[in-house]
Symmetry: C4
Subunit: 202 residues, 4 copies
């Protein structure tokens, strides 16, 4: 299921167009990647409008995150490498910045996870075949120290939930294909937006 | 008013583009169908992004729901068959997942119906020619047992209201044509979004 | 400033595309018109999706509202005629259905007008050159009796405000040109959406 | 980094399309400018729909704001001149009208600044490299007297924050390039929308 470089670039560009249209990529924020057939990672370079990406806006790093061209990847590349390392079946990662995720994580500022229960959309997550269950989506405090963050995040990835939140920052979501990663992000943002309303005064 | 297969496919694809743009088809959720001239049902296959459907994403089942090609239809196909069986004049059904419907049905978790009154848009429903009336839109609890759900739903369909809600899941709406089904969904989602605000603190 | 028929049709179609994109024309709701060079009125026929109008969806009535082809105009045509009769400089009228207008007028159900004050956008209304003023936008109760409604509305039109609301129904806005009518509708919907938030608990 | 006239016109038109799509340019509101290679300012003329600008909708003034063709610039041109004068590295300015900015500044009507803290998006502002900081975004009371407003605004520009709000009116944001100005506006509107929710009852 791992794409070649040209396919990865096309899918990253198309994901950016979709995510920007939803309002989840304000002000060039976010980064997207795919694991290639050869095990390297194609990844967006910082600073480009995500709704208007061109092939120039994609670079390659190796499986440890070492740049394979002379551009410097985003510091958050380390978080992508963390997910690819822990989860060998993952081939696409999307990191988005939504108002819902930002407001939720800032309002509930001591919450370490958000429980999502009784949503039909939970079935988008792998190995879930009923709404009648619950998932604890992890929330990590924001930091600019990506190594420290990765040490916190990596152990939690074993829970099998293909997404986590960073407080005041945004969402990471992933899957075996770009289509799966996009569905995870869509479903998670949808449920987060619902929770934000449900947990406010009715 | 029943379409041939090619027309049905075109109208289903176009409905998906419209509904996805409204945010009512997140993460491939939902399913759409039309009853054909020959009495069979053309219906979306699960797992495709609803805003980017292709003819491949449509399959056919007979009037009892038996697949006519070798793909497996969505389990919710049974709910479509239920509506087509009870309502012979119905030729198009749209099932959407909106934030409004999800939040409303989860917040008001014991409500069996939502009363919609004094909306000009009520005139979209068949046989209603004034805003000065009310409609009780049914809400069913979610389940993965489609046969059980159909036993609950079918008797209620006699009320003539061309729509119902499933809690934490979404909306079913229908009509004689795809245009009518789409108007029913648009009007119902509009009134639901209004009720959600009107029933919260002002 | 009055257009010929072909220009009017093109401007009505284009207005519909814009208004539908804003969510102000759900389920075919609303109607739009322009006064032609010859004094007749070009107006949308009911029942078409407003975002996908074609020339077929426009008909002509004379200055008293008598149909000039063999189609029946919407009952609300009378409200358009009322505005054109009282305001000779008006050549374009847009009637929209927004969630904001619907929720506001249903929540504040005894209010006969909504005061809009200290908005920069008030300068869109004719003869207003500062934000430091206020406008009382009229709200009429909904009815299916268009003659009765017109008797209520017509005297109020003398106030010079190019817009009014119908409770649980929507907004009428107008101007000398379609561009002016559209700006009036945009500015009014914007201020209404702000008032809805400002008048709820903060 | 200063563009020639044709590039400036193209970037202004494209910015207008983007901003209008976000709902930040209702009813022709707002104005956009760029400083040219020759030190003159290309700027939108009032009264055009910002999402549908044509080269006709752009005029030129000199560095003091004197029109270089026979059209009259918007009164707010003076605010643009103020920013270009105080900040020599600024070459693009965007002035938007959003519901979020309008509601926030009207609701908190005595607030002279809004504190934005702990947002990853703060890193969009120049010289900020961590979310773990705060910025006080200035809010000025609205007035039609642009000279008086400029006297209030100019001294505050020295704070280095590339944006300010005018109460009940909108946002000014700027940068060295149009891309930077657009990112500043996007990030600021995003954080404002979050603050509006975070400061209301949860």
């Amino acid at each position: 299921m791992r794409p070649d470089y040209d396919t990865a670039v096309a899918e990253i560009i198309s994901a950016g167009q979709f995510l920007a249209k939803q309002g989840w990529a304000p002000a060039t924020a976010g980064n997207y990647s795919m694991r290639l057939k050869n095990g390297c990672i194609a990844m967006t370079v910082s600073g480009f409008e995500k709704g208007e990406l061109t092939p120039d806006a994609v670079m390659t790093v190796d499986a440890e995150g070492k740049p394979l061209d002379n551009r410097r990847p985003s510091a958050e590349m380390l978080l992508h490498i963390g997910i690819y390392t822990v989860s060998p079946e993952t081939n696409a990662i999307l990191h988005t910045h939504s108002k819902g995720a930002t407001v939720f994580t800032k309002r509930h500022k001591d919450l370490k996870a958000i429980r999502l229960a009784d949503y039909e959309l939970l079935k988008i997550y792998p190995h879930i075949s009923t709404h009648d269950t619950s998932v604890d989506l992890p929330i990590f405090d924001n930091t600019q120290d990506m190594k420290a963050l990765r040490e916190e995040v990596d152990p939690v990835l074993a829970n099998g939930i293909p997404a986590y939140l960073i407080r005041g920052h945004g969402l990471y979501g992933w899957g075996r294909t770009m289509a799966e990663a996009r569905s995870v992000v869509e479903a998670t943002e949808f449920m987060l937006a619902c929770e934000l309303e449900l947990r406010s005064v009715a």
